[in-house]
């Protein structure tokens, strides 16, 4: 396994610490006085999502983690199993609901997703930043009210419930920001 020396450290590096893969989300070079360099790193555990602060001395190294990202397509859901396909080689991957995490709220058959593999096993998927989904159920629209500050819960075709402005109706297509889970605008289907 390759290793990264402190001089290679930068945001986005994937490293292995105590048997878990981590993503380096921040790395600050500090050198007090004429002393040894310090690298103050923030790392996100790619399996648990927790953030670890770690300070290393200049010359230290970290093992690289075998983490790759592939483009995949969401095929279908069967209870709590989500099936994806690697778009490059058509290989299929089954992910649990825990692995899919919040992404399940936005998944629609045929949707393109980025998938992260650790030692060739899927560990997470991320849907596109903006997705268009159809409203499956909501209370009737409030006539004449086009204000966006009045909201109501709407159930989407993916099964997720999000808050939308009061004027939307069953069957409407809406655009959602998957990073915040927020309604953006009405869209064409």
């Amino acid at each position: 396994m390759a290793t990264y020396n402190t001089s290679d450290f930068k945001r986005g590096l994937k490293v292995q610490i105590d048997g878990d893969p981590y993503l380096m989300i921040e790395c600050n070079f500090v050198k007090p006085g004429k002393g040894n360099a310090l690298y103050k790193c923030k790392l996100r555990n790619l399996l648990r999502g927790t953030v670890l602060d770690r300070t290393l001395k200049g010359g230290d190294s970290l093992e690289s983690a075998d983490v790759t990202e592939i483009s995949s397509q969401f095929l279908y859901r069967q209870q709590d199993t989500f099936v994806f396909m690697d778009k490059a080689n058509y290989e299929q991957y089954e992910l649990t609901k825990e692995q899919v995490d919040d992404a399940w709220k936005y998944l629609k058959e045929g949707m393109d997703c980025q998938m992260m593999l650790y030692n060739n096993n899927p560990i997470s998927v991320s849907p596109p930043n903006h997705v268009v989904l159809q409203i499956e159920y909501c209370e009737p629209a409030v006539r004449g009210n086009t204000a966006t500050n009045l909201t109501k819960p709407c159930k989407l075709e993916s099964g997720a419930e999000i808050l939308c402005p009061a004027f939307v109706e069953i069957g409407d297509f809406i655009k959602v920001d998957t990073r915040t889970g927020e309604y953006l605008e009405r869209a064409k289907g």
């Binding site: 001089s7 070079f29 004429k34 040894n36 230290d60």
Partner: protein, 330 residues
Amino acid sequence: MPKDNASHDFRPTATWPRLQLRSEMLARVRGFFAQRAFLEVETPLLSADVVVDRYLDPLSVTLPDDPRRPDCGKTLWLQTSPEFGMKRLLAAGGEAIYQITRSFRAGERGPLHNSEFTIVEWYRRGDDMRQGMQTLSDLAEALLQLGPAETVSYADAFRQHAGLDPHRATSEQLRAAAERLGLSVADTFVQADRDNWLNLLLAEVVEPHLGQSRPTILYDYPAGQAALARTHGDPPVAARFELYVRGIELANGYHELLDPSELRGRNEHANRQRKADGKPPLPAESRLLAAMEQGLPDCTGVALGFDRVVMLAAGATSIAEVMAFPLERA
């Protein structure tokens, strides 16, 4: 219309108002020293000699004997500071001298570091540490207008912010303090020595408090971090001092070591440590040592990181914002 980054990176990273501020501050430095009758000097950037320090990695340049074989020839060093040249001038009769110059340090890159940076360095014959700290405080006041600096000993700062005596605490006690203060370090810190632990605590828990209400000068460093400063007292401390503003280190000064045999010993020690770290040794003999054999006058010298001072004056958060072209765009 070009869209990619590459086609834009000919541009400076500093805005024109900041480059103008930089130019005004250079003029202010020259005015400050002219008023105090310091002579502006220039010493070589390329020298056969270089500071021997465990943690300073100089860049080397080959001076080819034959232009057709550019990598064969004498090795010269880009200076990590103008210290050697300036002390040789003092030994040869200089009284009060200053210089504004570029310095080079390999591997140093971050918001507060650029491998090529600007140092303002000065020496005055007869100055002790107090006088050296006074001139530093005056210059900081002239450049930043934040009032005179307070002085705090390294030991007092550690007692206050880390709850320990930095000159007497063992490695084990320093490690325990880091743990108590919630610092998370890599496993490799197991092999850390006292000075590594002190540097970690300094960076993480002491520095953030320094220079917050007004500039702070920290003085009397651990003897293990003396570099080219003389040591005194029991337990021994180094007559070394540093200026901090808003938690950022701006300057480093020494009541200079005069004893050549002491410097030879320190060079040897630093080279042994470099070897243990897997780094090449640096030339142990130098024309500075020759000057010290003849007699270096009692003096204090200070080096100020000019880019950082301009950065603070501009309200910027990285030195790239006050430099025309940092390393990535050099």
